[in-house]
Amino acid sequence: MNKVSTRLFALAILVILSVLAAITFGPADIDSSQLISCLVGSCQNQIADIVIWQVRIPRVLVALVAGMGLAIAGAILQNTTRNPLADPYLFGIVSGAGLGATIANISLADNLTIALPLAAFLGALFSVIIVVFIAKVLQRMEQLLLAGVAVSFMLASITQFILYFGEPFATNRVIFWLMGSLARVEMSNFYVIASILVIAIITVLALHRQIDALLLGDESAASLGVDVDKLRLLMLGICAALTATIVAYCGGIGFVGLMIPHIVRQLIGVTTLKLIIGSALIGAIFLIWVDVIARSSLPHAEIPIGIITSALGSIFFLFIMYRSRANT
Protein backbone atom coordinates (compact mmCIF):
# COMPACT_ATOMS: atom_id res chain seq x y z
CA MET A 1 0.00 0.00 0.00
CA ASN A 2 1.45 3.41 -0.90
CA LYS A 3 1.51 6.50 1.33
CA VAL A 4 -1.77 7.95 0.03
CA SER A 5 -3.67 4.65 0.36
CA THR A 6 -2.35 4.19 3.89
CA ARG A 7 -3.53 7.66 4.89
CA LEU A 8 -6.96 7.15 3.32
CA PHE A 9 -7.30 3.80 5.08
CA ALA A 10 -6.34 5.39 8.41
CA LEU A 11 -8.88 8.17 7.83
CA ALA A 12 -11.62 5.62 7.05
CA ILE A 13 -10.87 3.87 10.36
CA LEU A 14 -11.00 7.26 12.11
CA VAL A 15 -14.43 7.95 10.58
CA ILE A 16 -15.80 4.68 11.98
CA LEU A 17 -14.24 5.35 15.40
CA SER A 18 -15.57 8.92 15.37
CA VAL A 19 -19.11 7.72 14.66
CA LEU A 20 -18.92 5.19 17.52
CA ALA A 21 -17.34 7.67 19.93
CA ALA A 22 -19.78 10.48 19.07
CA ILE A 23 -22.74 8.26 19.99
CA THR A 24 -21.43 8.12 23.58
CA PHE A 25 -21.73 11.92 23.99
CA GLY A 26 -24.98 13.46 25.15
CA PRO A 27 -26.87 14.77 28.19
CA ALA A 28 -28.57 11.40 28.94
CA ASP A 29 -26.50 9.24 31.24
CA ILE A 30 -25.90 6.05 29.26
CA ASP A 31 -22.87 3.92 30.15
CA SER A 32 -20.86 1.95 27.64
CA SER A 33 -22.36 -1.48 28.47
CA GLN A 34 -25.88 -0.07 28.00
CA LEU A 35 -24.75 1.58 24.77
CA ILE A 36 -23.33 -1.67 23.37
CA SER A 37 -26.41 -3.70 24.34
CA CYS A 38 -28.67 -1.10 22.67
CA LEU A 39 -26.52 -1.07 19.54
CA VAL A 40 -26.69 -4.87 19.20
CA GLY A 41 -30.46 -4.86 19.78
CA SER A 42 -30.69 -6.29 23.29
CA CYS A 43 -31.45 -3.09 25.17
CA GLN A 44 -32.98 -3.42 28.67
CA ASN A 45 -33.62 0.30 29.14
CA GLN A 46 -36.31 1.58 26.77
CA ILE A 47 -35.40 5.25 27.26
CA ALA A 48 -31.75 4.57 26.47
CA ASP A 49 -32.87 2.67 23.36
CA ILE A 50 -34.95 5.64 22.18
CA VAL A 51 -32.17 8.15 22.94
CA ILE A 52 -29.60 6.12 21.04
CA TRP A 53 -31.67 5.10 18.01
CA GLN A 54 -33.90 8.16 17.60
CA VAL A 55 -31.66 10.98 18.80
CA ARG A 56 -27.97 10.21 18.84
CA ILE A 57 -27.54 7.87 15.85
CA PRO A 58 -29.57 10.04 13.42
CA ARG A 59 -27.67 13.11 14.60
CA VAL A 60 -24.22 11.52 14.20
CA LEU A 61 -25.14 10.01 10.83
CA VAL A 62 -26.47 13.36 9.56
CA ALA A 63 -23.22 15.00 10.78
CA LEU A 64 -21.33 12.28 8.88
CA VAL A 65 -23.08 12.82 5.52
CA ALA A 66 -23.40 16.61 5.92
CA GLY A 67 -19.66 16.89 6.62
CA MET A 68 -18.90 14.66 3.63
CA GLY A 69 -21.30 16.56 1.38
CA LEU A 70 -20.15 20.08 2.25
CA ALA A 71 -16.47 19.14 1.93
CA ILE A 72 -17.03 17.34 -1.38
CA ALA A 73 -19.04 20.28 -2.77
CA GLY A 74 -16.16 22.63 -1.89
CA ALA A 75 -13.59 20.27 -3.42
CA ILE A 76 -15.57 19.93 -6.68
CA LEU A 77 -16.09 23.68 -6.99
CA GLN A 78 -12.45 24.45 -6.26
CA ASN A 79 -11.16 22.02 -8.89
CA THR A 80 -13.73 22.88 -11.56
CA THR A 81 -13.23 26.65 -11.16
CA ARG A 82 -9.48 26.36 -10.42
CA ASN A 83 -10.11 28.66 -7.48
CA PRO A 84 -8.95 27.50 -4.04
CA LEU A 85 -11.37 29.97 -2.42
CA ALA A 86 -14.47 28.59 -4.17
CA ASP A 87 -17.06 27.42 -1.67
CA PRO A 88 -20.73 26.49 -2.11
CA TYR A 89 -21.60 29.45 0.13
CA LEU A 90 -19.97 31.89 -2.27
CA PHE A 91 -22.40 30.86 -5.00
CA GLY A 92 -25.31 32.33 -3.08
CA ILE A 93 -26.61 28.90 -2.08
CA VAL A 94 -27.03 29.74 1.60
CA SER A 95 -28.44 33.20 0.92
CA GLY A 96 -30.98 31.59 -1.42
CA ALA A 97 -31.83 28.95 1.18
CA GLY A 98 -32.12 31.71 3.79
CA LEU A 99 -34.55 33.64 1.64
CA GLY A 100 -36.63 30.51 1.02
CA ALA A 101 -36.71 29.71 4.74
CA THR A 102 -37.62 33.28 5.60
CA ILE A 103 -40.53 33.35 3.17
CA ALA A 104 -41.78 29.98 4.52
CA ASN A 105 -41.47 31.15 8.13
CA ILE A 106 -43.19 34.46 7.58
CA SER A 107 -46.00 33.19 5.35
CA LEU A 108 -46.72 29.82 7.00
CA ALA A 109 -47.59 29.45 10.66
CA ASP A 110 -47.57 25.65 10.75
CA ASN A 111 -46.45 22.65 8.66
CA LEU A 112 -42.96 24.06 8.86
CA THR A 113 -41.37 20.61 9.31
CA ILE A 114 -41.76 19.95 5.60
CA ALA A 115 -42.17 23.50 4.32
CA LEU A 116 -38.97 24.94 5.83
CA PRO A 117 -36.45 22.54 4.25
CA LEU A 118 -38.42 22.50 1.00
CA ALA A 119 -38.50 26.29 0.79
CA ALA A 120 -34.80 26.46 1.69
CA PHE A 121 -33.99 23.94 -1.03
CA LEU A 122 -36.01 25.85 -3.64
CA GLY A 123 -34.41 29.13 -2.55
CA ALA A 124 -30.92 27.63 -2.94
CA LEU A 125 -31.71 26.26 -6.40
CA PHE A 126 -33.23 29.61 -7.37
CA SER A 127 -30.02 31.42 -6.46
CA VAL A 128 -27.86 28.96 -8.43
CA ILE A 129 -30.10 29.35 -11.48
CA ILE A 130 -29.68 33.15 -11.29
CA VAL A 131 -25.90 32.81 -10.89
CA VAL A 132 -25.59 30.49 -13.88
CA PHE A 133 -27.92 32.69 -15.93
CA ILE A 134 -25.78 35.77 -15.22
CA ALA A 135 -22.59 33.91 -16.07
CA LYS A 136 -24.23 32.66 -19.30
CA VAL A 137 -25.37 36.16 -20.28
CA LEU A 138 -21.84 37.43 -19.65
CA GLN A 139 -20.63 34.37 -21.62
CA ARG A 140 -17.87 33.97 -19.06
CA MET A 141 -18.25 30.84 -16.97
CA GLU A 142 -15.15 31.81 -14.99
CA GLN A 143 -17.14 34.75 -13.63
CA LEU A 144 -19.48 32.37 -11.84
CA LEU A 145 -17.86 33.16 -8.51
CA LEU A 146 -18.20 36.93 -8.84
CA ALA A 147 -21.80 36.51 -9.98
CA GLY A 148 -22.35 34.26 -6.95
CA VAL A 149 -21.04 36.88 -4.52
CA ALA A 150 -23.28 39.56 -6.07
CA VAL A 151 -26.37 37.34 -5.99
CA SER A 152 -25.55 36.29 -2.43
CA PHE A 153 -25.57 39.89 -1.20
CA MET A 154 -28.72 40.68 -3.15
CA LEU A 155 -30.67 37.73 -1.70
CA ALA A 156 -29.34 38.43 1.81
CA SER A 157 -30.57 42.01 1.58
CA ILE A 158 -34.05 40.84 0.49
CA THR A 159 -34.07 38.37 3.43
CA GLN A 160 -33.11 41.12 5.88
CA PHE A 161 -35.77 43.42 4.44
CA ILE A 162 -38.46 40.76 4.97
CA LEU A 163 -37.18 39.95 8.47
CA TYR A 164 -37.09 43.65 9.41
CA PHE A 165 -40.82 43.93 8.80
CA GLY A 166 -41.61 40.36 9.88
CA GLU A 167 -43.20 39.00 13.03
CA PRO A 168 -40.52 38.74 15.81
CA PHE A 169 -41.16 35.07 16.60
CA ALA A 170 -40.76 34.01 12.97
CA THR A 171 -37.70 36.25 12.65
CA ASN A 172 -36.08 34.54 15.63
CA ARG A 173 -36.79 31.13 14.14
CA VAL A 174 -35.10 32.08 10.86
CA ILE A 175 -32.08 33.58 12.61
CA PHE A 176 -31.58 30.42 14.70
CA TRP A 177 -32.03 28.25 11.62
CA LEU A 178 -29.38 30.28 9.75
CA MET A 179 -26.90 29.66 12.59
CA GLY A 180 -27.05 25.93 11.80
CA SER A 181 -27.91 23.05 14.09
CA LEU A 182 -28.25 19.28 14.02
CA ALA A 183 -30.55 19.27 17.07
CA ARG A 184 -33.75 18.53 15.17
CA VAL A 185 -32.53 16.13 12.49
CA GLU A 186 -34.19 12.77 11.92
CA MET A 187 -33.20 9.50 10.30
CA SER A 188 -35.21 10.41 7.18
CA ASN A 189 -32.95 13.48 6.72
CA PHE A 190 -29.95 11.17 6.71
CA TYR A 191 -31.47 9.03 3.94
CA VAL A 192 -32.22 12.06 1.75
CA ILE A 193 -28.76 13.64 2.17
CA ALA A 194 -27.04 10.24 1.75
CA SER A 195 -28.93 9.56 -1.52
CA ILE A 196 -27.86 12.88 -3.07
CA LEU A 197 -24.33 12.32 -1.74
CA VAL A 198 -24.10 8.91 -3.39
CA ILE A 199 -25.30 10.35 -6.73
CA ALA A 200 -22.74 13.18 -6.42
CA ILE A 201 -19.87 10.82 -5.58
CA ILE A 202 -20.72 8.41 -8.42
CA THR A 203 -20.90 11.30 -10.93
CA VAL A 204 -17.59 12.76 -9.78
CA LEU A 205 -15.86 9.37 -9.80
CA ALA A 206 -17.12 8.84 -13.36
CA LEU A 207 -15.82 12.21 -14.52
CA HIS A 208 -12.71 12.54 -12.36
CA ARG A 209 -10.33 12.60 -15.35
CA GLN A 210 -12.33 15.36 -17.05
CA ILE A 211 -12.26 17.48 -13.87
CA ASP A 212 -8.52 16.88 -13.52
CA ALA A 213 -8.00 18.08 -17.10
CA LEU A 214 -9.44 21.48 -16.06
CA LEU A 215 -6.59 21.95 -13.58
CA LEU A 216 -4.24 23.08 -16.37
CA GLY A 217 -6.75 25.50 -17.89
CA ASP A 218 -9.89 25.44 -20.03
CA GLU A 219 -8.00 25.38 -23.33
CA SER A 220 -5.88 22.45 -22.25
CA ALA A 221 -8.98 20.55 -21.10
CA ALA A 222 -10.83 21.30 -24.35
CA SER A 223 -7.85 19.98 -26.34
CA LEU A 224 -8.20 16.71 -24.42
CA GLY A 225 -11.84 16.40 -25.54
CA VAL A 226 -13.59 17.93 -22.51
CA ASP A 227 -16.73 20.04 -23.02
CA VAL A 228 -15.64 22.59 -20.42
CA ASP A 229 -18.84 24.63 -20.02
CA LYS A 230 -21.10 21.56 -19.84
CA LEU A 231 -18.87 19.87 -17.28
CA ARG A 232 -18.69 22.98 -15.10
CA LEU A 233 -22.46 23.44 -15.25
CA LEU A 234 -23.08 19.80 -14.33
CA MET A 235 -20.70 20.03 -11.38
CA LEU A 236 -22.27 23.29 -10.20
CA GLY A 237 -25.71 21.65 -10.36
CA ILE A 238 -24.50 18.70 -8.29
CA CYS A 239 -22.88 20.98 -5.69
CA ALA A 240 -26.03 23.11 -5.52
CA ALA A 241 -28.29 20.09 -4.97
CA LEU A 242 -25.94 18.67 -2.35
CA THR A 243 -25.44 21.90 -0.42
CA ALA A 244 -29.10 22.95 -0.70
CA THR A 245 -30.25 19.62 0.76
CA ILE A 246 -27.79 19.85 3.65
CA VAL A 247 -28.58 23.52 4.35
CA ALA A 248 -32.31 22.77 4.18
CA TYR A 249 -32.06 20.26 7.07
CA CYS A 250 -29.11 21.61 9.05
CA GLY A 251 -29.19 25.37 8.39
CA GLY A 252 -26.10 27.44 7.64
CA ILE A 253 -22.85 25.54 8.27
CA GLY A 254 -20.13 27.68 6.73
CA PHE A 255 -16.48 27.20 5.87
CA VAL A 256 -16.46 23.37 5.77
CA GLY A 257 -16.29 23.38 1.96
CA LEU A 258 -13.49 25.92 2.03
CA MET A 259 -11.36 24.47 4.81
CA ILE A 260 -11.41 20.72 4.32
CA PRO A 261 -10.16 20.55 0.68
CA HIS A 262 -7.19 22.76 1.71
CA ILE A 263 -6.20 20.24 4.37
CA VAL A 264 -6.73 17.31 1.98
CA ARG A 265 -4.46 18.88 -0.64
CA GLN A 266 -1.65 18.97 1.91
CA LEU A 267 -2.25 15.46 3.25
CA ILE A 268 -3.52 13.42 0.28
CA GLY A 269 -3.19 15.16 -3.08
CA VAL A 270 -4.69 17.65 -5.51
CA THR A 271 -6.22 15.47 -8.22
CA THR A 272 -9.96 14.94 -8.10
CA LEU A 273 -10.09 11.28 -7.06
CA LYS A 274 -7.78 11.80 -4.08
CA LEU A 275 -9.35 15.15 -3.21
CA ILE A 276 -12.92 13.82 -3.20
CA ILE A 277 -12.21 10.71 -1.15
CA GLY A 278 -9.99 12.63 1.28
CA SER A 279 -12.52 15.48 1.62
CA ALA A 280 -15.36 13.04 2.29
CA LEU A 281 -13.43 11.34 5.10
CA ILE A 282 -11.93 14.44 6.75
CA GLY A 283 -15.18 16.42 6.28
CA ALA A 284 -17.10 13.67 8.07
CA ILE A 285 -14.64 13.48 10.98
CA PHE A 286 -14.60 17.28 11.26
CA LEU A 287 -18.37 17.78 11.41
CA ILE A 288 -18.99 14.81 13.72
CA TRP A 289 -16.59 16.30 16.30
CA VAL A 290 -17.74 19.88 15.83
CA ASP A 291 -21.26 18.65 16.56
CA VAL A 292 -19.98 16.85 19.68
CA ILE A 293 -18.45 20.17 20.83
CA ALA A 294 -21.67 21.99 19.95
CA ARG A 295 -23.84 19.74 22.10
CA SER A 296 -21.52 19.00 25.01
CA SER A 297 -19.46 22.11 25.73
CA LEU A 298 -22.23 23.99 27.60
CA PRO A 299 -24.06 22.30 30.51
CA HIS A 300 -27.70 23.03 29.61
CA ALA A 301 -27.57 24.49 26.12
CA GLU A 302 -26.24 23.85 22.65
CA ILE A 303 -24.02 26.12 20.63
CA PRO A 304 -25.28 26.44 17.03
CA ILE A 305 -22.89 24.39 14.91
CA GLY A 306 -22.54 27.15 12.28
CA ILE A 307 -21.04 29.46 14.90
CA ILE A 308 -18.28 26.95 15.66
CA THR A 309 -17.49 26.17 11.99
CA SER A 310 -17.41 29.89 11.15
CA ALA A 311 -15.10 30.64 14.09
CA LEU A 312 -12.76 27.77 13.17
CA GLY A 313 -12.99 28.72 9.50
CA SER A 314 -11.98 32.32 10.03
CA ILE A 315 -9.00 31.28 12.19
CA PHE A 316 -8.07 28.77 9.49
CA PHE A 317 -8.31 31.49 6.85
CA LEU A 318 -5.95 33.75 8.82
CA PHE A 319 -3.57 30.83 9.29
CA ILE A 320 -3.52 30.18 5.50
CA MET A 321 -2.86 33.89 4.87
CA TYR A 322 -0.05 33.89 7.44
CA ARG A 323 1.49 30.77 5.92
CA SER A 324 1.35 32.09 2.37
CA ARG A 325 2.97 35.31 3.63
CA ALA A 326 5.70 33.25 5.30
CA ASN A 327 6.29 31.33 2.06
CA THR A 328 6.79 34.45 -0.06
Binding site: L207, R209, L215, L216, G217, S220, S223, L224, V226, T271
Partner: protein
Protein backbone atom coordinates in the same frame (compact mmCIF):
# COMPACT_ATOMS: atom_id res chain seq x y z
CA UNK B 1 3.73 10.02 -47.98
CA UNK B 2 -0.01 9.75 -47.41
CA UNK B 3 -2.13 12.86 -46.93
CA UNK B 4 -3.42 13.27 -43.39
CA UNK B 5 -4.94 16.73 -43.47
CA UNK B 6 -6.52 18.69 -46.28
CA UNK B 7 -7.40 22.34 -45.73
CA UNK B 8 -9.28 23.91 -48.61
CA UNK B 9 -10.86 27.33 -49.16
CA UNK B 10 -10.72 28.17 -45.45
CA UNK B 11 -12.10 31.62 -44.62
CA UNK B 12 -12.79 33.25 -41.24
CA UNK B 13 -14.24 36.72 -40.93
CA UNK B 14 -15.37 38.49 -37.75
CA UNK B 15 -17.27 41.79 -38.10
CA UNK B 16 -15.80 42.52 -41.55
CA UNK B 17 -12.31 41.82 -40.24
CA UNK B 18 -10.60 39.07 -42.19
CA UNK B 19 -8.87 36.58 -39.93
CA UNK B 20 -8.15 33.91 -42.53
CA UNK B 21 -8.71 34.14 -46.28
CA UNK B 22 -8.80 31.29 -48.78
CA UNK B 23 -6.27 29.04 -47.07
CA UNK B 24 -5.38 25.88 -49.00
CA UNK B 25 -2.76 23.29 -48.14
CA UNK B 26 -2.31 19.62 -47.33
CA UNK B 27 -0.28 17.92 -44.63
CA UNK B 28 1.34 14.55 -45.17
CA UNK B 29 2.19 12.00 -42.53
CA UNK B 30 5.50 12.67 -40.80
CA UNK B 31 5.94 16.28 -41.95
CA UNK B 32 7.23 18.94 -39.56
CA UNK B 33 5.54 22.17 -40.63
CA UNK B 34 6.19 25.64 -39.24
CA UNK B 35 3.64 28.44 -39.59
CA UNK B 36 5.38 31.81 -39.63
CA UNK B 37 4.31 35.41 -40.11
CA UNK B 38 4.07 38.75 -38.32
CA UNK B 39 1.90 39.36 -35.26
CA UNK B 40 -1.79 39.18 -36.14
CA UNK B 41 -1.14 37.25 -39.37
CA UNK B 42 -3.57 34.50 -38.32
CA UNK B 43 -1.09 31.80 -37.23
CA UNK B 44 -2.86 30.76 -34.01
CA UNK B 45 -6.28 31.22 -35.66
CA UNK B 46 -5.26 28.72 -38.32
CA UNK B 47 -4.29 26.21 -35.61
CA UNK B 48 -7.65 26.76 -33.92
CA UNK B 49 -9.47 26.00 -37.19
CA UNK B 50 -7.41 22.88 -37.84
CA UNK B 51 -8.53 21.35 -34.52
CA UNK B 52 -12.01 22.92 -34.82
CA UNK B 53 -11.61 24.50 -31.39
CA UNK B 54 -14.93 25.47 -29.77
CA UNK B 55 -16.63 24.13 -32.92
CA UNK B 56 -15.38 27.16 -34.81
CA UNK B 57 -15.90 25.61 -38.25
CA UNK B 58 -19.64 25.33 -37.62
CA UNK B 59 -19.86 29.08 -37.04
CA UNK B 60 -21.41 31.33 -39.71
CA UNK B 61 -18.17 33.35 -39.68
CA UNK B 62 -16.18 30.53 -41.24
CA UNK B 63 -16.33 28.72 -44.57
CA UNK B 64 -14.25 26.12 -46.36
CA UNK B 65 -13.23 22.75 -45.06
CA UNK B 66 -10.67 20.95 -42.95
CA UNK B 67 -10.54 17.22 -43.66
CA UNK B 68 -8.73 14.66 -41.58
CA UNK B 69 -8.16 11.41 -43.48
CA UNK B 70 -10.74 12.54 -46.07
CA UNK B 71 -13.44 13.12 -43.45
CA UNK B 72 -14.58 16.64 -42.48
CA UNK B 73 -13.22 17.59 -39.06
CA UNK B 74 -16.71 18.89 -38.17
CA UNK B 75 -17.91 15.26 -38.17
CA UNK B 76 -15.42 14.30 -35.46
CA UNK B 77 -16.49 14.47 -31.82
CA UNK B 78 -14.27 16.48 -29.46
CA UNK B 79 -13.03 13.18 -28.02
CA UNK B 80 -12.14 11.86 -31.48
CA UNK B 81 -10.31 15.10 -32.26
CA UNK B 82 -8.33 14.68 -29.02
CA UNK B 83 -7.45 11.16 -30.14
CA UNK B 84 -5.98 12.54 -33.39
CA UNK B 85 -4.49 15.89 -32.34
CA UNK B 86 -2.42 16.74 -29.29
CA UNK B 87 -2.14 20.44 -28.50
CA UNK B 88 0.74 22.05 -26.64
CA UNK B 89 0.10 25.67 -25.82
CA UNK B 90 2.35 28.61 -25.03
CA UNK B 91 1.86 28.56 -21.31
CA UNK B 92 0.11 26.27 -18.86
CA UNK B 93 -0.13 27.17 -15.22
CA UNK B 94 -1.90 25.52 -12.37
CA UNK B 95 -2.70 27.18 -9.11
CA UNK B 96 -2.64 23.75 -7.43
CA UNK B 97 0.49 21.69 -6.76
CA UNK B 98 0.16 19.18 -9.62
CA UNK B 99 2.96 16.66 -9.99
CA UNK B 100 4.47 15.81 -13.37
CA UNK B 101 2.72 12.44 -13.08
CA UNK B 102 -0.66 14.18 -12.61
CA UNK B 103 -0.07 16.24 -15.77
CA UNK B 104 1.03 13.17 -17.72
CA UNK B 105 -2.11 11.25 -16.70
CA UNK B 106 -4.23 13.93 -18.36
CA UNK B 107 -2.89 12.64 -21.69
CA UNK B 108 -4.68 9.33 -21.10
CA UNK B 109 -8.10 11.04 -21.00
CA UNK B 110 -9.11 10.76 -24.70
CA UNK B 111 -8.63 6.99 -24.55
CA UNK B 112 -10.23 6.32 -21.18
CA UNK B 113 -13.81 5.42 -20.33
CA UNK B 114 -15.82 6.71 -17.36
CA UNK B 115 -14.75 5.39 -13.93
CA UNK B 116 -11.49 4.02 -15.40
CA UNK B 117 -8.40 3.78 -13.24
CA UNK B 118 -4.77 3.74 -14.35
CA UNK B 119 -3.39 0.40 -15.50
CA UNK B 120 0.20 -0.82 -15.37
CA UNK B 121 0.33 -0.28 -19.13
CA UNK B 122 -0.65 3.39 -18.63
CA UNK B 123 2.13 3.81 -16.08
CA UNK B 124 4.68 2.26 -18.46
CA UNK B 125 3.52 4.57 -21.28
CA UNK B 126 3.96 7.61 -19.00
CA UNK B 127 7.46 6.49 -18.02
CA UNK B 128 8.37 5.80 -21.67
CA UNK B 129 7.15 9.23 -22.81
CA UNK B 130 9.06 10.98 -20.04
CA UNK B 131 12.22 9.11 -20.91
CA UNK B 132 11.82 10.24 -24.55
CA UNK B 133 11.89 13.88 -23.43
CA UNK B 134 14.74 13.24 -20.98
CA UNK B 135 12.70 13.76 -17.81
CA UNK B 136 12.48 10.26 -16.33
CA UNK B 137 13.75 11.59 -13.01
CA UNK B 138 10.97 14.23 -12.77
CA UNK B 139 7.92 11.95 -12.39
CA UNK B 140 7.23 13.00 -8.80
CA UNK B 141 8.39 16.62 -9.20
CA UNK B 142 5.95 19.51 -8.98
CA UNK B 143 5.03 20.79 -12.44
CA UNK B 144 5.04 24.45 -11.37
CA UNK B 145 8.55 24.17 -9.98
CA UNK B 146 10.06 23.05 -13.30
CA UNK B 147 11.76 25.51 -15.66
CA UNK B 148 9.80 26.77 -18.68
CA UNK B 149 11.72 24.40 -20.97
CA UNK B 150 11.09 21.42 -18.72
CA UNK B 151 7.37 22.28 -18.53
CA UNK B 152 7.20 22.36 -22.34
CA UNK B 153 8.95 18.99 -22.49
CA UNK B 154 6.47 17.52 -19.99
CA UNK B 155 3.59 18.80 -22.14
CA UNK B 156 5.18 17.26 -25.22
CA UNK B 157 5.52 14.00 -23.28
CA UNK B 158 1.84 14.31 -22.33
CA UNK B 159 1.08 14.66 -26.04
CA UNK B 160 3.01 11.41 -26.63
CA UNK B 161 0.90 9.63 -23.99
CA UNK B 162 -2.15 11.03 -25.79
CA UNK B 163 -0.91 8.90 -28.72
CA UNK B 164 -2.21 11.34 -31.31
CA UNK B 165 -1.05 11.31 -34.90
CA UNK B 166 -0.60 15.07 -35.19
CA UNK B 167 1.16 17.29 -32.68
CA UNK B 168 0.06 20.94 -32.69
CA UNK B 169 2.29 23.45 -30.94
CA UNK B 170 1.47 27.12 -30.49
CA UNK B 171 4.69 29.13 -30.11
CA UNK B 172 6.48 26.36 -28.21
CA UNK B 173 9.60 28.47 -27.69
CA UNK B 174 7.95 31.56 -26.23
CA UNK B 175 9.20 32.40 -22.73
CA UNK B 176 12.21 30.09 -23.21
CA UNK B 177 15.87 31.07 -23.31
CA UNK B 178 18.04 30.19 -26.30
CA UNK B 179 19.22 26.85 -24.87
CA UNK B 180 15.70 25.58 -24.18
CA UNK B 181 14.39 26.91 -27.52
CA UNK B 182 16.81 24.61 -29.34
CA UNK B 183 16.30 21.75 -26.91
CA UNK B 184 12.49 21.77 -27.29
CA UNK B 185 12.51 22.12 -31.09
CA UNK B 186 15.17 19.46 -31.52
CA UNK B 187 13.05 17.14 -29.41
CA UNK B 188 9.94 17.86 -31.51
CA UNK B 189 11.94 17.27 -34.66
CA UNK B 190 13.13 13.85 -33.52
CA UNK B 191 9.73 12.49 -32.45
CA UNK B 192 8.96 11.12 -35.92
CA UNK B 193 5.34 12.23 -35.85
CA UNK B 194 3.46 14.85 -37.85
CA UNK B 195 3.97 18.29 -36.35
CA UNK B 196 2.30 21.62 -37.13
CA UNK B 197 3.60 24.54 -35.09
CA UNK B 198 3.54 28.30 -35.09
CA UNK B 199 7.01 29.74 -34.66
CA UNK B 200 7.89 33.38 -34.16
CA UNK B 201 11.62 33.04 -34.77
CA UNK B 202 12.19 32.59 -38.51
CA UNK B 203 15.67 31.13 -38.11
CA UNK B 204 14.52 28.53 -35.59
CA UNK B 205 11.64 27.64 -37.93
CA UNK B 206 14.06 27.24 -40.79
CA UNK B 207 16.42 25.08 -38.75
CA UNK B 208 13.82 22.65 -37.41
CA UNK B 209 10.95 22.55 -39.97
CA UNK B 210 11.02 20.76 -43.31
CA UNK B 211 8.30 23.00 -44.65
CA UNK B 212 7.12 26.52 -43.83
CA UNK B 213 3.79 28.29 -44.35
CA UNK B 214 4.13 32.08 -44.46
CA UNK B 215 0.97 33.92 -43.42
CA UNK B 216 0.24 37.63 -43.67
CA UNK B 217 -3.06 39.40 -42.98
CA UNK B 218 -4.85 36.06 -42.94
CA UNK B 219 -3.55 34.94 -46.33
CA UNK B 220 -1.19 32.10 -47.12
CA UNK B 221 1.58 33.94 -48.96
CA UNK B 222 3.98 31.09 -49.53
CA UNK B 223 4.15 27.35 -48.83
CA UNK B 224 7.42 25.53 -49.39
CA UNK B 225 10.88 24.69 -48.16
CA UNK B 226 12.59 27.17 -45.79
CA UNK B 227 14.80 28.37 -48.63
CA UNK B 228 11.78 29.16 -50.84
CA UNK B 229 9.65 30.73 -48.13
CA UNK B 230 12.39 32.83 -46.56
CA UNK B 231 13.05 34.72 -49.80
CA UNK B 232 14.42 38.18 -48.83
CA UNK B 233 12.10 40.24 -51.08
CA UNK B 234 9.04 38.42 -49.77
CA UNK B 235 10.03 38.87 -46.13
CA UNK B 236 10.96 42.52 -46.70
CA UNK B 237 7.49 43.21 -48.07
CA UNK B 238 5.78 41.51 -45.16
CA UNK B 239 7.91 42.63 -42.23
CA UNK B 240 8.71 46.09 -43.67
CA UNK B 241 12.44 45.73 -43.15
CA UNK B 242 15.32 45.05 -45.53
CA UNK B 243 16.33 41.41 -45.27
CA UNK B 244 19.24 39.24 -46.22
CA UNK B 245 19.37 35.46 -46.62
CA UNK B 246 22.44 33.41 -45.71
CA UNK B 247 23.33 29.78 -45.30
CA UNK B 248 24.51 29.00 -41.80
CA UNK B 249 28.08 27.75 -41.94
CA UNK B 250 27.60 25.20 -39.15
CA UNK B 251 24.06 23.86 -39.59
CA UNK B 252 23.71 24.45 -43.33
CA UNK B 253 20.23 25.86 -42.72
CA UNK B 254 18.79 28.90 -44.45
CA UNK B 255 19.00 31.89 -42.12
CA UNK B 256 17.73 35.44 -42.48
CA UNK B 257 18.72 38.72 -40.89
CA UNK B 258 16.84 42.00 -40.88
CA UNK B 259 18.30 45.44 -40.43
CA UNK B 260 17.27 49.05 -40.28
CA UNK B 261 18.88 51.49 -42.67
CA UNK B 262 20.38 53.37 -39.72
CA UNK B 263 22.08 50.23 -38.42
CA UNK B 264 24.24 49.77 -41.49
CA UNK B 265 27.97 50.21 -40.97
CA UNK B 266 28.98 53.42 -42.70
CA UNK B 267 30.84 52.89 -46.01
CA UNK B 268 30.34 49.16 -45.81
CA UNK B 269 28.49 46.86 -48.16
CA UNK B 270 27.64 44.32 -45.48
CA UNK B 271 24.70 45.39 -43.36
CA UNK B 272 24.61 45.18 -39.55
CA UNK B 273 22.06 42.47 -38.94
CA UNK B 274 19.08 42.90 -36.69
CA UNK B 275 18.49 39.36 -35.67
CA UNK B 276 14.90 38.17 -36.00
Amino acid sequence: MSTLLNISGLNWKVLNKTILQDINFTVSKGEVIGIIGPNGAGKTSLLRCIINQANILSSINTSGSVQLKNRPITQFSSREIAQHFALVMQKNDSIFALSVQDVMKMGLLPHKSLFSLDSDYDKSQIELALSKVGLSHALESLFNQLSGGEQQRVLIARALVQASQILILDEPTNHLDVYYQHQVLQLVNKLNITVIMTVHDLNLASLYCQRLLLLDKGQLICDGSPQEVLAPEQLSNIFGLPCQQNIDAITGATQVSFYLQDNRIQNSTSPEPLSE
